[in-house]
Symmetry: C2
Subunit: 461 residues, 2 copies
Amino acid sequence: MSARTGLTRRLAERIVQSDPLGDEAVLAAAKAGMLDFLASTLAARDDRGADNIAAALDVQPGHRWSETTGDGRASVIGRADRLAPLDAALVNGYLAHALDYDDVHESVRGHPSAVLLPALLAEAEARRLGGADVLAAYVIGVETMCRLGLAIGRGHYEAGWHSTATLGAIGAAAACARLIGLDAERTVHAVSFAATQSAGLRVQFGSGAKPLHAGLAARAGLLAARLAASGLRGAGEPLSGDIGFLSIYGRGQAHPDAVLEGWGAPWQIVNPGLWFKLYPCCSAAHHAADAALTIRAKHAPDPGRIAAVTAAFPPGGDAALVVREPKTGVDGRFSVEYVIAAALLHGELGLEAFADRPLDERERTLAGKVRRVTDGETVPAPDAMPKGRFTVVTVTMQDGTAYAERVDRPRGSPGRPLTEQERWMKYRDAVRGMPDPWHHLPDRVAHFECLTDLSRFFPEC
Amino acid sequence: MSARTGLTRRLAERIVQSDPLGDEAVLAAAKAGMLDFLASTLAARDDRGADNIAAALDVQPGHRWSETTGDGRASVIGRADRLAPLDAALVNGYLAHALDYDDVHESVRGHPSAVLLPALLAEAEARRLGGADVLAAYVIGVETMCRLGLAIGRGHYEAGWHSTATLGAIGAAAACARLIGLDAERTVHAVSFAATQSAGLRVQFGSGAKPLHAGLAARAGLLAARLAASGLRGAGEPLSGDIGFLSIYGRGQAHPDAVLEGWGAPWQIVNPGLWFKLYPCCSAAHHAADAALTIRAKHAPDPGRIAAVTAAFPPGGDAALVVREPKTGVDGRFSVEYVIAAALLHGELGLEAFADRPLDERERTLAGKVRRVTDGETVPAPDAMPKGRFTVVTVTMQDGTAYAERVDRPRGSPGRPLTEQERWMKYRDAVRGMPDPWHHLPDRVAHFECLTDLSRFFPEC
């Protein structure tokens, strides 16, 4: 297959030529994704990991980190700082994923917006681009990332890759190539430079490197598009072929045709669509969270009299939940033991539940009673989200009474979407304590496609 | 295996505690590597790819790219420009590998110094560190990169990874962690942040992305060390385990124990040692280059009367030589067809032979007569370099006369090291036309371990 007719070239043509915003549902989904991204990112604005990253970039608070307010700079979302766009993409990607509160897409088996929007907003802000261009590029980035996820096969994630990072870099390159108006030829090279930067290990789950992955992928994708724009050239067919990206990262189980088959019909941002989280923790714990909250609401079991709790998953369904003995709220983001304990004790799973503080005695005791069970017998629901997944939580009291709840589709997932009010509530919770203009930002998001100059999008901090 | 006794922790302790410069041979090898690195990088100083990268970083010539001469900046080697160290590491890594003229190490199956020294020199220059610290960190970076190469197994490169990039990021993180004096705990996290950025596809060979890989790995490694210094934490055991780096990138064929077994005994920079190139082209073509130059020196065959040429490799020995129909001198860097033709026509393979110009008629015609042959019968020499490799070039004239030469160890490779004079000659060729102080830089390299402030190492341009 020659570089002129190869998979990457045909993908590049879709990236350049698609016009997704004509469809009302697509436009609405993109703006919903934008709002949820802002909520997830703003909720993390005080995360000290962003200061660590700034220090590593030689950007000291009060020094370059804050003083560079000139043109060609981009905001650190929710902070006064303005950085070069590549650095802003890195920091904002980190913040967007810091709380694991950002959206999830089943086809990616990961987090699209935390990678795509930091890259797009940074570049659009610095170049004073308009909202419609950002939304179109975002939809195309989601499509690229999702179709790569469908093409690369299950072996990719299972082997140990973090798809948010590995597929995110290429998705962000596609989105940024579209945003800055590269032609198909240069878009090929943007994809090529991104594929050759694709990285991120799942062994990092539970550490500060996991959200860093989103930032690194955002930066890698934006750099890839900028390198292509500059005229540098990479391999013309990086995706397919024996030693191409899909072969290596798919471990021989990839289906390269799936990158283009069904492109935009429907758009992945609409169907299956983005999953917006109600709780700032790993999506693999959301079924259990809903189940435990339901048990608490229905039966209010006295925590002191709980004898045992089980959480039953289909085989591999708890792979992302890497923490079994949580010590802090942050650990708890990847611990179904903690999520269930906190839900039963507190009846809610808000930002406070996952703060960086030691668990208290009651939380530790109850989490210690939760046991994971692998259930290979129960048949997953046909409309399970993600496909094949369920969790059954069973609380057994000292007197032998047992309360069980099964969840196949958590609240917020595509099968059980949040109401508009719930989405706005999530944003309001996130900006608590911020200056007034931040509370009105959702009005601008509602008309995002009409904004003509994104350098004026974010309010002052 | 816990994070406190795991492979990565034990590696980190070696990185922190080793004291390699007591050995005279190690010191001499490190300074030889430094000189060859400078020659390879300076020979590429006018490469326009560096300007492309600068544009992608928003560094316009005459703008920030040149005007930032303040403290905390690092040189673009051979240019007037001074950049933030992370950006300098990227550009210098690109330049060091741009001509494929830089050193090779058999254990890496790639290029250590083009990744390690850009990161180390940029950071040392910006922080005003001394030469001995850089050399010790360099030796330790080579050791880390080589031992990872030995541990990860042959499947890594063969699957399609570019080891220079993938192993280079971790080697550079190890070297930079040592340079800036991280303790063992933070060095673990430096390795962790590098492992999770490890990327680079061999499908890029022959394109501008190949040298970019060296720069990206240099930058990734330096960023990893700086992130660890800032206090950000990654996974404590990123290298071993079922979903660790070695498992994923070694495709199940890795030998994790080989990371530490034999560490520094002898140091890999001494034995097997670095291979310094006489010709600015892929090392896999160097056997053929020597053979063709010998045939030309012995027999001076009239190119117009050559009927056919064969180049016989052991199976897979020409994998890196991805260009079969070269159109320019740049293409020729990865084409054994061109290397043999140019050697037979010109009797030398200097910088001019691989310049960015179209091949002339005679070069195209003769390159078109070269055929590759896979030879699974010939037994490789026990001291072949790299192991198992050889090339037999056979030139058959129209009258039936045939001239054949076999090369097992090319000139410059560890088995046939360059003389000191040849190494200085390579440097002199590289700096032709540069201001006088650059011609005296080898004197500073000869006493590199005595330099106390590397911000004064490079002459003005």
